[in-house]
C-alpha cells in the first residue's frame, strides 16, 4: 500500500526533515509512526497524502508514484485516502452533516447517496443524533470523531491520522483508537502518527520510529524488508 524507498525531503529553507527513509506498509496493516515532535512524522504523512513531494527517492502510495503524479490528478488521488488531523479542521459555520458531506461533494458523488453515506459515517462514530449541530457545540473528543467520520465517508482504502489523540485525555484517546481499529478490522490500512507511547505499547501493533529524520523500524525484522534493503 505504501512504500518509501530512500525517500528524502528537504524543505526550501534547507532543513532536511527526512533523510533516505525506507519502509513498507502493506495493505490491511495498522501502523504507528512515533517519534518526538519535529522528528519527521508529519513529513512522512505529508508525503503520503501528497501535500509534499519527495526531494529524492521514491514514495509509492496505492500503486502510484507520488513524485510523478500530475498536479491536476492530485484531487483524485486524495479522494482515495482519508486524512484525520490533530486539530480536526472542521468548518465551524457548517453542520456536522455538511462537514462530513464535503468529501462526497468534492468527489461528485450522486446526491442521493450522499445523505445515506453521511448518516452511515456519523453513525459509525456515534454522532448521528448530532448531525445538525455545529462543530463548536461539541466536545473536543466529539469533534475529533467528526473528523474521523469525514475521513472515512469516502470509504478510503487508506486512512492516515496526524496525532488524532493529541488533545484528548486517556479515556477519549482509547475510544478514538478503538474506532481506528474497527476500520482496520474491515480491511482499511491505517497509519497513525502519535507521540503517545502508552497507546502504542498497549496496542501491540507495529511501530515505525522516526528520529532526526531517520527511520527505525524495530518490527521490520522478520517482515519483508523493503526490497532495496534486502539486496544489501
Amino acid at each position: 500500500m505504501i512504500r518509501f524507498d530512500r525517500a528524502s525531503k528537504r524543505y526550501p529553507n534547507g532543513r532536511e526533515a527526512l533523510s533516505s527513509a525506507s519502509f513498507e506498509i502493506r495493505t490491511g496493516e495498522m501502523v504507528f509512526l512515533t517519534g518526538r515532535s519535529g522528528a519527521g512524522k508529519s513529513t512522512v504523512l505529508k508525503l503520503i497524502a501528497l501535500l509534499e513531494r519527495p526531494s529524492r527517492g521514491l514514495v509509492m502510495v496505492n500503486g502510484c508514484n507520488t513524485a510523478a503524479l500530475a498536479s491536476r490528478r492530485i484531487p483524485a488521488f486524495r479522494r482515495e485516502l482519508g486524512v484525520v488531523f490533530q486539530d480536526h479542521r472542521l468548518l465551524p459555520e457548517r453542520s456536522l452533516f455538511d462537514n462530513v458531506a464535503l468529501p462526497l461533494h468534492a468527489a461528485h458523488a450522486p446526491l442521493k447517496d450522499i445523505d445515506k453515506r453521511v448518516r452511515a459515517a456519523l453513525d459509525q462514530v456515534g454522532l448521528l443524533d448530532r448531525a445538525k449541530s455545529l462543530p463548536l457545540e461539541l466536545s473536543v473528543g466529539e469533534q475529533q470523531r467528526v473528523g474521523i467520520a469525514r475521513a472515512v465517508v469516502v470509504k478510503p482504502r487508506l486512512l492516515i491520522a496526524d496525532e488524532p489523540t493529541g488533545n484528548l485525555d486517556p479515556a477519549l484517546s482509547l475510544e478514538v483508537m478503538n474506532l481506528f481499529r474497527r476500520f482496520n478490522d474491515v480491511g482499511v490500512t491505517v497509519v497513525i502518527a502519535t507521540h503517545d507511547v502508552e497507546i502504542v505499547k498497549a496496542s501491540g501493533l507495529r511501530e515505525i520510529v522516526i528520529a532526526d529524520g531517520k527511520v527505525h523500524d524495530p518490527s521490520a525484522e522478520g517482515l519483508d524488508l523493503p526490497r532495496v534493503e534486502a539486496q544489501r
Binding site: 508529519s42 504523512l45 505529508k46 497524502a49 501535500l51 491536476r72 484531487p75 483524485a76 488521488f77 486524495r78 479522494r79 482515495e80 486524512v83 488531523f85 479542521r89 468548518l91 464535503l102 468529501p103 461533494h105 468534492a106 468527489a107 461528485h108 450522486p110 446526491l111 469525514r150 469516502v154 496526524d162
Partner: protein, 305 residues
C-alpha cells in the same frame, strides 16, 4: 446530467446565501458596479435618441444645382426629369430663371437696383431633395460629384454642413461613450475581482480543507464564479433601474428644451433589447472578473498540515 445540474444549482444557492448573509457589503459592491454600468448606458441611450433626430433632419438637406447661363429652359427641364430617375432622390423642383428673379426681387428688397440690369443675371436652377435614408454624407458627396460632372452645370451647393457637423459631434460622443464604457467595464472587472479575492482569503481555511479532501480546482472555483455572476447580474439589474430613472427624470426638461426649437424630440427609454444587453454585459463582466481572481488566487492556496 441531472446530477450535474443539481450540483450547479447547489453551488449557485450556496453563493447566493453567502451574498445574502453580508447584505451591507453586498449592497455597496452592487452599487459600485451599478454606477459603473449606468453612466455609459445612459449616455449611450441619449446619443441613440439624438441620432434619431439627425435622421429626421436629413430630410431637410437641400442640394441646389445652378446651370450655366446659356442652358435653355427646355434642356434644364430635361435634365430635371432624368435626375428624378436616379435612386435616392425624393423630389426635383425646377426653378426657372424668371421665377428666381421674381422671388429675389420680392425677398431681397433690391427690386429697384435689379431694374437697372439688362436681362436676367440668374441661371435656371434645380432644387434637389434627397430621400431621408440616402442623406448620409458619403452619398451626398457622390451626388454632388455626379451633378458637378454634367457639362451644363455651373455650381452645386449642398446645404448639409450643419447636419454633417452634428453627425460628426455625435460620432465623437459615441466614441467617448465607448471609451468610457470600456474603462468602466474594466473597473467592474476589477471591483468583482477584488471582492472575490477578499472572499477567497476570508474562506482560506475552507478552501484548504476542501482541497485536502480531494476537491478539484474546478470544484473549489465554482461557487466563486456564481458569486461573480450574481454580482454582475444584480449590479446590471440595479443599473437598469438607475438608467430608467435618469432618463425618466431627464425626459420632461429635454422635451421642454426641444419644444423651444420646435422639435418634438424625446429621449428613448431603454427597451427589452437594451436591458438584455445590459444584463448580459453585467453577467459576463461578473463571471470574467471572478474567473480572473480565482485563477490567480485559488491556485496559491495549497493545503498545509
Amino acid at each position: 446530467m441531472k446530477g450535474w445540474m443539481l450540483r450547479h444549482v447547489q453551488s449557485a444557492l450556496f453563493a447566493a446565501g453567502r451574498l445574502a448573509r453580508a447584505p451591507m457589503a453586498t449592497a455597496f459592491t452592487l452599487l459600485v458596479i451599478a454606477i459603473a454600468l449606468t453612466l455609459p448606458s445612459t449616455l449611450g441611450l441619449a446619443i441613440q435618441s439624438l441620432s434619431g433626430i439627425t435622421g429626421e433632419l436629413s430630410g431637410a438637406v437641400d442640394v441646389t444645382v445652378y446651370f450655366k447661363q446659356d442652358v435653355p429652359l427646355e434642356k434644364a427641364r430635361q435634365l430635371a426629369t432624368s435626375l428624378k430617375q436616379r435612386s435616392g432622390i425624393a423630389r426635383v423642383d425646377l426653378i426657372p430663371a424668371d421665377e428666381a428673379l421674381k422671388e429675389f426681387r420680392v425677398q431681397s428688397g433690391f427690386g429697384a437696383a435689379l431694374d437697372v440690369l439688362e436681362g436676367n443675371p440668374l441661371p435656371h436652377a434645380l432644387d434637389v431633395r434627397p430621400k431621408a435614408d440616402a442623406a448620409d454624407p458619403e452619398r451626398m458627396e457622390s451626388l454632388r460629384r455626379y451633378l458637378t460632372a454634367w457639362p451644363e452645370v455651373e455650381l452645386v451647393q449642398v446645404d448639409s454642413e450643419w447636419v454633417q457637423r452634428l453627425n460628426a459631434i455625435l460620432d465623437l460622443l459615441r466614441r467617448l461613450v465607448l471609451g468610457t464604457a470600456v474603462l468602466l467595464g474594466v473597473g467592474v472587472l476589477a471591483v468583482v475581482g477584488n471582492t472575490i479575492r477578499l472572499e477567497i482569503y476570508n474562506r482560506r481555511a475552507e478552501i484548504e480543507v476542501t482541497k485536502l479532501v480531494g476537491g478539484s480546482n474546478a470544484f473549489v472555483r465554482r461557487p466563486f464564479l456564481y458569486t461573480g455572476l450574481f454580482y454582475g447580474m444584480l449590479g446590471a439589474l440595479l443599473a437598469s433601474g438607475l438608467v430608467w430613472l435618469a432618463l425618466y427624470l431627464l425626459d420632461a426638461p429635454v422635451a421642454r428644451l426641444a419644444s423651444t426649437y420646435g422639435s418634438s424630440f424625446r429621449l428613448l427609454l431603454p427597451g427589452l433589447r437594451e436591458l438584455g444587453m445590459l444584463l448580459g454585459t453585467g453577467a459576463v463582466l461578473g463571471i470574467v472578473g471572478a474567473w480572473l481572481a480565482a485563477a490567480r488566487h485559488l491556485a496559491r492556496i495549497e493545503p498545509r498540515s
